[in-house]
Every structure is written in structure tokens, then in C-alpha cells.
């Protein structure tokens, strides 16, 4: 998935906010963006799994992305959204603080650092995009959702 998108030199990203940091995921992995709806808690799941929601008749798990990335918690605002992404044919919701825009970034502007950036462990990163003065943290959805591999405990 990621190979495909990175092979073309332009990359379209959905940019969203977690706290003050800006993050991006490839638009090809995003199915839709939803306002926060009622989330049903599921017992006996890792803490970062917020629960399940009803998306037009099917039940989807929702990840609390800030918990998953070990970011400080704060009360969600009006702007909070659930981004529905598809990872290896599985749809998952991710709770974010706000969705800001869709932007195009050139591959040349993406770095692949192997050190920890900000507070996010390198494991969950697929790169860092630089755009003017902004830093965009590109997430590796496979490791974050734990699909297609062993879940790494946070």
C-alpha cells in the first residue's frame, strides 16, 4: 500500500491534528471522515481501543489515536472527528482532535528518520513531511492498528 503511493512522486495526504502536532495519512487509505458519534465501549480490549461504532449497519472498531501514540490526553472539542481508514481490507475508525485539510506533498520533502520524532515512537511512523515551516508526521497505519502483524504493546 505505502509502496504504491510513494512510488509516484506526489503524495496526497489527509492532515489532522492531535494536540498541537500535525499528522498525515495517505488519502488512499482514508474511506471517510465522520463526526464523533456514540461509541460503545468494549470490555477486555487494550486501552487505546475506544470502542465500536455503527457505520451504516456495520460495526467498526475505533482507536483513540492519542492514547495509541502515548500523547497527553485532553478533552475533545467540537472539531473532533473519526477518520475511517482501510488497512488490508479492514476498516477502522481513528479518533483525532481535528481534520484540517487535504494537501499534496512531494516525495522529496519526506524524510525517513529512524529516531524518535516528537513523542511518537518510530515504530508508528512511516516518515516526516516538511512543508514550509510545518512538520507533518506520517503514520504507519499497519503498525498502529496492529493489523498484519503482532500488536506491539504501547
Amino acid at each position: 500500500m505505502s509502496e504504491q503511493t510513494y512510488s509516484s512522486s506526489d503524495l496526497q495526504l489527509v492532515v489532522f491534528k492531535l494536540g498541537q502536532e500535525e499528522y498525515g495519512v495517505s488519502i488512499l487509505q482514508v474511506q471517510e471522515i465522520k463526526r464523533i458519534t456514540e461509541i460503545t465501549r468494549v470490555p477486555h480490549t487494550p486501552e487505546y481501543i475506544k470502542g465500536v461504532i455503527n457505520l451504516r449497519g456495520s460495526v467498526l472498531p475505533v482507536i483513540d489515536l492519542k492514547k495509541r501514540l502515548n500523547l497527553p490526553q485532553q478533552a475533545s472539542t467540537e472539531n473532533a472527528r473519526i477518520i475511517i481508514v482501510k488497512v488490508e481490507e479492514i476498516s477502522i475508525g481513528m479518533m483525532v482532535d481535528a481534520v484540517s485539510e487535504v494537501m499534496t506533498i512531494n516525495e522529496q520533502n519526506i524524510d525517513y528518520p529512524d529516531v524518535v520524532v516528537g513523542s511518537v515512537s518510530a515504530n508508528y511512523l512511516s516518515g516526516v513531511g516538511k512543508l514550509d515551516n510545518r512538520l507533518l508526521i506520517l503514520l504507519n497505519l499497519e503498525t498502529i492498528t496492529g493489523i498484519g502483524q503482532e500488536t506491539t504493546p504501547v
Binding site: 470490555p43 480490549t45 455503527n54 496492529g146
Partner: protein, 671 residues
């Protein structure tokens, strides 16, 4: 001809017929002179041959052809079904299965059917001096002239026709290449022929014509007063007919006795023994009267079921709107709608139901082979094969049952000598029983073998370090026996080909539990063991009781609810530090749902408690909830791969207001 579109049908029907062959040959083994069974075998073999020849699978066609010859001789009592012949036929069926599967997987088949064909031929020649062939007609697709051998009745009809000054013709009709509606064309031809005379026979049969089971040509025998030109005209008036060949029928005075013709041609070769066709069409007639059926792709049924599920959810939503806004008209209309959706749902569920016989069918053969291999004599008794289960369950239940049966035969039933020494009937008995029980289906595998000795089980479990000696000493019989379901457990001292690799029973348990069922074992040393599988009838839509715990809503499947009671908190007793209640003289352990589900207890201790008494098998438990909401029909949705395998939660459902509620897994709640 593009055969791909027929491929699915060919495979499915071939498998069905092979299955039928297997069970019939088994019957034949027990009753070698049963003509109706022979007839059935013959028909199945014949159909496979016809289909495979049409599809161009010559290896299959050749083998079935030789098989058919033997069967025909058996049927005519020119041969007697001795073990050698039965075994050869079994081998043929096996080889055919392999051939069909290699067609299915599109792999080059490395299966050599030559030795088997040779064996069949030898059987046919070696054991009967007068090898007679009912009628052998070889027809290449390209030949223009062929001769149909006639059955006695047909000859009689034709002779009578001669007496009345009419003639019998053999009409071969060739359809134009690329003809789309072959069955429709053939029907039109038959109609045209019927107008000028009487069609006494078609090759292939009318039924096969309707199903388009022929290539580009087919034949009919026509008794008519008209001449050949008239017949030609009648046929050619229909479009898409390439040409029609009309030849006068030759009526033999008596049926000739000839040698079997060697079939070495690679072309499509078809043989039609005359009276076989007669019986085939008779059987087909019977079937047609019995009822018509349509083959439907299971995916389409799943889609239909999903839609019905959505409908049910939306209906519930409407119901709620009607109730909250007190719209009497709407509520009344929805009540009507409710009836229709309930009916619709039950019809769709029924459509997906398949009888367990489909799975059970293959077991007699397996048991026969196993018992032969192990030198044991076993009588397999199957009961309740008409019991129906959801298609998805049926597909999954086969392997666990194979495991259980193998275990019974390998570990359970003793050798005839041992049995005699114990004063038992030397022939062991294995029972496979299916029946309904409430909202469940019970499948039991029972044997009268040596049973499971709890002491031996304990010994092995300790040796394999699954439990400690101290734990073993504390265990009672039942617990000990249940250890056979532990991973890595195998009681066989010698690992045989059949079982004993220690992967069996826990795999069985896992599979059954993943289907929402449970498996249990009862055993008595030297009297036998009984494995009992309990499965839900359907997996998709169930009745459930909705309950409140704190502000969360959970659904409890109604099938596992005994009753709901209302008690004072002072009625709670403790036994060994566990909360229990006394209900009608029974001590029932209590489960605090809030605890199990990690719900922070916000509500202060209530004086009055709502308890839902649930059960799984004989186990009962009382579940404390905050409030009962009511009974509702729910559509079970999976939580998806990411959340699969969570204890205590069996799935999710969507409530009338669009909210997701979780369904409790009672089995894991009780344990």
C-alpha cells in the same frame, strides 16, 4: 463451446453423484443383490460419464465407462458383486474424486487411471464367458451416422408402428455452432417432431436436453407416417439448425451379443446402454414430480440475509419512533410490517438451512475404510440426518466430526478379540445422532468401546506437564475426562495413521466454540464414550434480552436464558467466598456483570437486584444486571478481525436508535 460457465455446475453435480456412489456402493457391499441400489449406482455413474464427456474430460469419461460396463453386468447378474469387485469400484470412485478435484483446481492431473481401467476390463472378461453389452453406441461429435440400440419396449413400439403402416426414423439434429439457447432449440425441434409423429426416445434424455447437457447434436427416434423429406423440412424450419440427418431405424430381431468395444479414441466417446437410459428417464420423471429446485450461489443468499438484517434493524428503528412520538397509525402499520418481516426472515433462514445428512453422508465410507484398516468390525448407526442447520455451520462441522469419529474408532472401539474377552458383541457400534433441542441442534458421537479412563488421563496430563500431581489428585472424574480437550493432549500410546498426534480434541473444541456451540463428553470405562456437540440453529438473527449495566446496554441471547428473577440483596449467600443464590433448592453461582465487564460501579448497592438466570448445558449461573430493558430481535454482527476473540463478548448488534450494543457470550461468562 465455452465450457467455463458450466464448470461450476459440472463440479457440483459430479461431487454429488460421487457422494451418492460412495453411499450406494456401501449399501451394495452389504446387500450385493440389491437391484435398486445397483440401478442407482449405474445412474450416477452414467450421469458422471455423460457430463464429463460433454465437458471434454475424457479420462473421467473413460473410467466411468468401464465402470458402467461392470455395473451393467452386475445388474444383469452376469457377475456377482464379490469383495474384489466392490473394492475395485471403491477405487474407481476414489480416482474419480481425485480427477474431479484436479479439474476443480485446474491442475494437471497426474492420476493414472489406466491400471484401474485394465482391472475393470479384466473383471469384465475374466469372470463371465458371455460378455454381453446391452448396447454400445459410439458417437463421435463429427460422425453423421450412428446407430441407436433400442430397448425391448421401444422395439415393440416400433414393430407395432410398422404394423400400422408407419415407419421409425432416427433423426440426428445438428445445431449451428454458437447457438445460444440450445435447450430452447431442442425443445422446438421436439415440438416439431411431435406434430408429425411420436418421439419415443431422445439421446440424451429430454431432461438432459432441457439442461443443455449435450454438445451440438442430439438424436431422436421418431415413429411417423411421414417420409424423410417431410421430417427434414419440419426440423429445418427452425432457425439455428445446421442440418438434420434422418435414417430409418433398424430393428433387430433379437439383441446381439457382442464383445465390449475397446474405447481408445481420444474423441468424445459416449455409450448409452439402452435400458439404462430407460431407467434414467424414469428416475428423472420421478424427480421432476418430487419438486423443483434452483441452485443458488451461497453468496447471493448471504447478501439476501444481510438485507433482511438491515430491514429488521430499520423496522425496529421505526417502531421506536412510533412509540416515542405516540403515533398510533405508525405503530399499527409497523405491527403489520413486523409480521411480514418476521415471515420473510424465517423464510430466508429456512432457505439457508441444509440437512446434516449432507455432512453425514461421507462418514459410512470413512468408517468402513478406517475399520478395515484397523482390523475392527464397526457398525455405524446414523440417526436424525434430516436435522437442519444453517449452511455456514454445516460447512464447518465436517472436520470436527471426522475427528470425533476417528477417535471413537481408533481409541474407543476395541479389536474383536478384546471385545469378545470382555463379553461384548465383537462388532463395535458407533452412533452418530443429530436432533433438535430447543433453539439448538445436538450432534452426538457415541461408541460402545472402552471409554475414557480418568486415571489414565490424569497420568498422561501429569506426564505431559499439563497439570501437577497435586492438581490431579484434587480432580474429580468429570474434570479429568474433560482434559482431553486440552491442547497437546493425546491418549494414544502409539501415534497411528488415524489419530494420536494430540492436535485433535482441542481443535474440535475450538472449532465448535467458534461456531457458538459447545462440546461435552460423557464416558464410562468399558461401556463407551459419548461426545455431545451443541450448536445454535442459526448464526445470524436471534432473540435476545437487552439489559442495562450502569449506562451500558448488553444483549443476552434468549436461548441461554432460563428465567429472570428479582431478589433482595440479603438473599445473596456466600459459599467458599463466592456469591450464590438458592433457587428452587438449587445453588446457583452469581456473576456480577459490572465486575466481569470492568464497568466502574457508579450506582450504589441496590437493595433489589435483577438477576438473569442463564444456562449452558447443565451449568447455570445468575447474572446480576442493573435493569432489564426488554426482549428484542437482534442481528448479530461480528466485531471484526481486530477485536476477534474477546472473552465474554460474542458479537455486536445495532439497536433501534443506531447505537451499538454488545452481545454477551454466556458460555465464557459461566466459566
Amino acid at each position: 463451446m465455452d465450457i467455463n460457465q458450466y464448470m461450476g455446475m459440472f463440479l457440483e453435480e459430479s461431487r454429488e453423484h460421487l457422494q451418492n456412489l460412495n453411499s450406494c456402493v456401501l449399501q451394495l457391499e452389504n446387500a450385493p443383490d440389491n437391484l435398486s441400489v445397483l440401478g442407482e449406482i449405474f445412474r450416477s455413474a452414467h450421469t458422471i460419464k455423460g457430463m464429463s464427456a460433454t465437458m471434454g474430460f475424457t479420462t473421467i469419461a473413460e473410467l466411468t465407462h468401464e465402470m458402467e460396463n461392470i455395473l451393467d453386468m452386475l445388474r444383469k447378474s452376469q457377475l456377482h458383486a464379490n469383495p474384489d469387485i466392490i473394492n475395485t469400484i471403491f477405487k474407481c470412485v476414489d480416482t474419480l474424486e481425485q480427477l474431479v478435484e484436479s479439474v476443480a483446481t485446474n491442475s494437471e492431473s497426474s492420476i493414472d487411471s489406466k491400471p484401474l481401467i485394465g482391472k475393470l476390463k479384466a473383471l469384465a472378461k475374466g469372470e463371465s464367458i458371455q460378455v454381453s453389452v446391452a448396447a454400445t453406441k459410439t458417437e463421435k461429435v463429427t460422425t453423421e451416422y450412428s446407430k441407436i440400440e433400442l430397448s425391448d419396449t421401444e422395439i415393440a413400439v416400433i414393430k407395432k408402428a410398422y404394423e400400422q403402416g408407419m415407419n421409425a426414423y432416427e433423426v440426428t439434429i445438428y445445431l449451428r455452432e454458437g447457438c445460444l439457447l440450445k435447450s430452447a432449440r431442442s425443445y422446438m425441434v421436439m415440438n416439431a417432431l411431435d406434430e408429425i409423429g411420436e418421439v419415443i426416445r431422445t439421446i440424451p434424455t429430454v431432461d438432459e436436453l432441457e439442461k443443455e447437457k449435450f454438445d451440438l447434436s442430439f438424436q431422436a427416434i421418431l415413429v411417423t407416417g411421414c417420409d424423410t423429406d417431410k421430417i427434414q423440412q419440419a426440423v429445418l424450419s427452425i432457425s439455428e439448425i445446421e442440418r438434420a440427418v434422418v435414417v430409418a431405424c433398424v430393428v433387430p430381431d433379437n439383441i446381439n451379443v457382442q464383445e465390449i468395444q475397446q474405447m481408445t479414441k481420444v474423441q468424445v466417446v459416449q455409450t448409452v446402454p439402452a435400458n439404462a437410459v430407460a431407467t434414467v428417464s424414469a428416475a428423472v420423471d420421478k424427480k421432476n414430480k418430487g419438486g423443483q429446485s434452483v441452485r443458488v450461489d451461497i453468496d447471493k443468499l448471504d447478501a439476501l440475509l444481510n438485507l433482511v438484517g438491515e430491514l429488521v434493524i430499520n423496522k425496529t428503528r421505526l417502531e421506536q419512533i412510533g412509540l416515542t412520538h405516540k403515533l398510533v397509525d405508525l405503530v399499527e402499520t409497523i405491527e403489520q410490517m413486523d409480521r411480514v418481516t418476521t415471515d420473510l426472515q424465517s423464510v430466508v433462514m429456512k432457505v439457508r438451512m441444509v440437512s446434516v445428512g449432507q455432512v453425514f453422508n461421507r462418514f459410512p465410507r470413512m468408517v468402513r475404510d478406517l475399520s478395515h484398516g484397523l482390523g475392527k468390525e464397526i457398525n455405524l448407526i446414523i440417526q436424525g440426518e434430516e436435522t437442519e442447520l444453517d449452511r455456514t455451520v454445516i460447512d464447518e462441522i465436517g472436520d470436527p466430526l471426522v475427528h470425533l469419529l476417528r477417535n471413537s474408532i481408533d481409541h474407543g472401539i476395541e479389536t474383536p478379540e478384546e471385545r469378545q474377552a470382555k463379553g461384548k458383541n465383537p462388532i463395535g457400534e458407533v452412533r452418530l445422532i443429530a436432533r433438535y433441542e430447543g433453539n439448538n441442534v445436538i450432534i452426538m458421537v457415541e461408541d460402545d468401546g472402552k471409554g475414557i479412563n480418568p486415571e489414565i488421563i490424569k497420568g498422561i496430563a501429569v506426564k505431559k506437564e499439563l497439570i501437577t500431581q497435586a492438581e490431579a489428585d484434587k480432580m474429580d472424574m468429570n474434570e479429568a475426562v474433560k482434559m482431553v480437550f486440552l491442547p497437546g493432549f493425546s491418549t494414544a500410546e502409539v501415534v497411528t495413521d488415524v489419530s494420536g498426534r494430540g492436535v485433535g480434541m482441542d481443535a474440535v473444541k475450538n472449532k465448535i466454540e467458534s461456531l457458538g456451540g459447545m462440546v461435552d463428553v460423557e464416558t464410562k470405562v468399558n461401556e463407551g464414550s459419548k461426545f455431545k456437540i451443541r450448536l445454535p440453529l442459526t448464526l445470524a438473527i436471534i432473540q435476545a434480552l437487552l439489559v442495562n449495566v450502569s449506562d451500558e446496554i448488553y444483549a443476552i441471547p434468549l436461548g441461554s436464558i432460563d428465567s429472570t428473577i428479582n431478589i433482595k440483596s440479603s438473599d445473596l449467600k456466600t459459599v467458599q467466598n463466592k456469591e450464590v443464590i438458592l433457587l428452587r433448592g438449587q445453588i446457583i453461582p452469581i456473576v456480577r456483570l459490572a465486575h466481569v465487564l470492568n464497568i466502574p460501579e457508579t450506582v450504589e448497592q441496590q437493595d433489589e437486584l435483577f438477576i438473569v438466570i442463564v444456562h449452558i448445558g447443565d451449568l447455570k449461573a445468575g447474572v446480576i444486571v442493573d435493569n432489564l430493558i426488554g426482549q428484542q430481535e437482534i442481528v448479530i454482527k461480528s466485531l471484526g478481525k481486530l477485536l476477534a476473540g474477546i472473552k465474554v463478548i460474542a458479537g455486536a448488534t445495532i439497536l433501534g436508535n443506531g447505537q451499538v450494543a454488545l452481545i454477551l457470550d454466556i458460555a465464557s461468562l459461566i466459566q
